[in-house]
């Protein structure tokens, strides 16, 4: 009995952790329109300092969530990205990450 309830508890805990802020790629697609202004142009470069804007389509989902969250908190400090990320809710960030990570530009 205790073992079973422990097991059920564990399953629920695991299910809960994976459900947390699950991204909706369809909603993310609409939100990601802004991203294309820089991340949608091949070989596009940041100015001062000059370097290529990173390829993000097909990047890992959790990495994108962490990156956007870090910009929103000011832990990463690209001015444009900070402004963009601050305008998004945690759900928006999850949605954007779901959409962007599911893209498969290599195909």
């Amino acid at each position: 009995m205790t073992k079973t309830s422990l097991f059920i508890g564990l399953v629920l805990a695991l299910a809960g952790s994976t459900c947390l802020a699950k991204g909706d790629a369809q909603k993310g697609k609409a939100l990601a329109y802004t991203c294309t202004g820089c991340h949608g142009i091949p070989e596009y470069k940041n100015a001062y300092p000059s370097y290529h804007v990173p390829k993000i389509a097909g990047q890992n989902e959790a990495y994108i969530v962490n990156a956007l969250t870090a910009y929103a908190k000011g832990e990463r400090n690209h001015p444009t990205m900070v402004v963009q990320a601050k305008s998004f809710s945690a759900q928006d960030i999850a949605d954007i990450a779901a959409y962007v990570s599911a893209l498969n530009p290599a195909k």
Binding site: Q59, N60, S101
Partner: protein, 111 residues
Amino acid sequence: MKTNTLLAFALFCLAGQAAAMGVKGDAAAGKQRATTCAACHGADGNKTLDNTYPKLAGQYPDYLLKALKEYKSGKRVNAVMAGQVQALTDADMANLAVYFGSLKGQMGIVK
């Protein structure tokens, strides 16, 4: 004479642009240094340990170099990467950036 000066100036500008466009590094030397990176970022730069780690394969070398330098200076904060980059020289970082950028990637532009 005037043409020569103009030509020299044009070449100077082009050289500057070329330097900014591409990171000068040795991919083979980068590969030697990349064994540690492979544990999390994948040997091919695509198969990451889990999806909190970024794919590096095919990423722009100048972006990768910027990230490495910022981890080293502390401008970009990540406990794991801060530890990894301390032992790397500028040349090591350039070599790694060129190496991972040269691998066949799965990433591209957002459409």
